[in-house]
């Protein structure tokens, strides 16, 4: 009774193969042998999928334009998520696209599923460098099924971040995980069947594989 097809949306954003390989490995290690991971630019495959992943590497406006350039994709994602209740995971810019709008280079509308803006990170300590780049620990804002069994906190596992902009949700309850970098930086958001990670689960080794396995079993 596990989710059988996971659609990773291919819209010209970089590094899809690492996401594919990480999901395949997580599925294998979690014993979810009946789970098929597909890279797809086909809206019909996305509508039919049991789970949807929206990766994203690049500038916000460019990623949004790339997504809009695939005919019917935004409608397919929206239909699956809002009407079918398909579990959805956005990664990095794919998470930021869940916001109302992005403010990188230009103001760009997002999907608006997690209301809030994506703005520049401004650490309170001027010695801290931007981008926020490298391995950081996570701090739980609230418990969430996607982080079940994953040690967080100062002595917990690390997640790999590489970003200059971050999503600040309008509703505090949408924030699941924070990273500390001269103040709190949103690391994970979730609302109903929609979740997003600012860090890269596909690059975050133990933490990443555990999180992906949790997503593959997630029943929101």
């Amino acid at each position: 009774m596990t989710g059988r097809t996971v659609a990773i949306i291919d819209y010209g954003s970089g590094n899809l193969h690492s996401a594919l390989k990480a999901f395949e490995r997580a599925a294998r290690e979690a014993g979810l042998d009946d789970t098929r991971i597909v890279l797809t630019a086909d809206p019909e495959v996305v509508v039919a999928a049991d789970r949807i992943v929206l990766p994203g590497v690049g500038a916000y406006a460019d990623c949004r334009a790339g997504l809009d350039a695939v005919p019917g994709m935004v409608e397919a994602m929206t239909g699956a998520v809002k009407e079918k209740g398909t579990p959805f995971l956005g990664i990095c810019v794919g998470m930021q696209l869940l916001a109302s709008r992005g403010l990188e280079y230009a103001q760009t509308p997002g999907l608006g599923w997690i209301p809030g803006d994506v703005g520049p990170i401004r650490p309170s300590d001027p010695a801290l460098k931007v981008p926020h780049m490298g391995w950081n620990t996570l701090r739980a804002a609230r418990p969430h099924a996607l982080f079940e069994g994953i040690p967080t906190g100062e002595h917990g596992l690390h997640a790999y971040f590489v970003h200059s902009f971050a999503l600040t949700p309008e509703r505090p309850a949408d924030t699941v995980m924070l990273a500390d970098y001269g103040g709190p930086v949103t690391a994970a958001v979730a609302r109903e069947n929609v979740a997003g990670m600012q860090f890269h689960p596909e690059k975050s080794q133990q933490l990443g594989l555990a999180l992906i396995a949790n997503f593959l079993r997630w029943r929101p």
């Binding site: 810019v93 801290l128 931007v130 690390h158």
Partner: protein
């Protein structure tokens, strides 16, 4: 808390690791993918490939190496060498690189950095700065950008260039001292510090590591966010785990959770 990164760097030529990597149990010391897997398992925080292949025709070989590495490793990968255009950046990112380093072409055309950052985001654009000290003893320290492996002077001040490319959108600077590279006498800490103080983006210290104390100094004195080294790791003088333990003992925040993870 964000941790200091340790980045082993492999020089790759025609799809092979230059001089090889001497690890126990490595079937093929010259295969970059094998070496990458070993560093992934050892808990390296990132990996860097610098391609020194002379010919343009061999570009496909590099892309193949990057793609096979990205499929086998879940660690962040930076790839540099021969990046001349936005299309080169795109090809490397699509092959599976997480970040792309631009070197000579950023010196010739700093706007390439801006074009690439606008397209792919500043976070994946690294500018590799090769600098040599040009001030005489007793003078205020001054460094100049050199290209082509440190052979060709450009007359460009390294600090001013670092500021320029950071403004253009570089998300990180890989600062190599061409005076120290290969000498095992330690990073040029004054250079690392001067650039780190001049820019708001992370700086990777590179060139000259002879021992683990050099890694500590690169962060503590040089102000680097990450330390890059090649031969001390490739030739087994130190493991990634030993380097992390040494740096942690010196008071630096290190990521210690991944080193023991078995790999299937």
């Amino acid at each position: 808390m964000l941790k200091t990164r340790i980045i082993p760097c492999l020089d790759v030529k025609d799809g092979r690791v230059v001089k090889g990597v001497r690890f126990e149990g490595l079937r093929d010391a010259g295969d970059p993918v094998e070496a990458a897997k070993a560093y992934d398992a050892a808990g390296a925080d990132e990996l860097c490939f610098l391609d020194i292949t002379a010919s343009r025709e061999a570009r496909g070989t590099l892309l193949d190496v990057v793609s096979r590495t990205a499929e086998a490793c879940f660690m962040p990968l930076t790839v540099g060498g021969g990046v001349r255009a936005v299309e080169d950046v795109r090809a490397l990112l699509l092959a599976g690189a997480d970040k792309v380093a631009i070197n000579t072409s950023a010196v010739k055309d700093p706007d390439l950095v801006a074009r690439a950052a606008e397209k792919f985001g500043a976070q994946c654009i690294v500018v590799a700065i090769d600098a040599k000290r040009v001030s005489a003893l007793g003078e205020a320290a001054r460094w100049e950008i050199f290209t082509h492996g440190g052979r060709d002077p450009t007359g460009i001040d390294a600090i001013a260039f670092a500021r320029l490319v950071a403004e253009k959108g570089a998300g990180e600077l890989l600062v190599t001292s061409m005076d120290r590279d290969g000498t095992r006498s330690g990073y040029d800490l004054a250079l690392t510090r001067a650039i780190s103080d001049a820019v708001g983006v992370p700086v990777i210290a590179s060139g000259g590591v002879g021992g683990l104390d050099d890694l500590v100094a690169g962060v503590a004195q040089g102000g680097a966010s990450a330390v890059l080294a090649a031969s001390i790791f490739h030739f087994g003088q130190a493991t990634i785990g030993e380097a992390k333990a040494h740096m942690a003992a010196a008071g630096l925040a290190m990521r210690l959770d991944a080193s023991a993870e078995p790999r299937p």
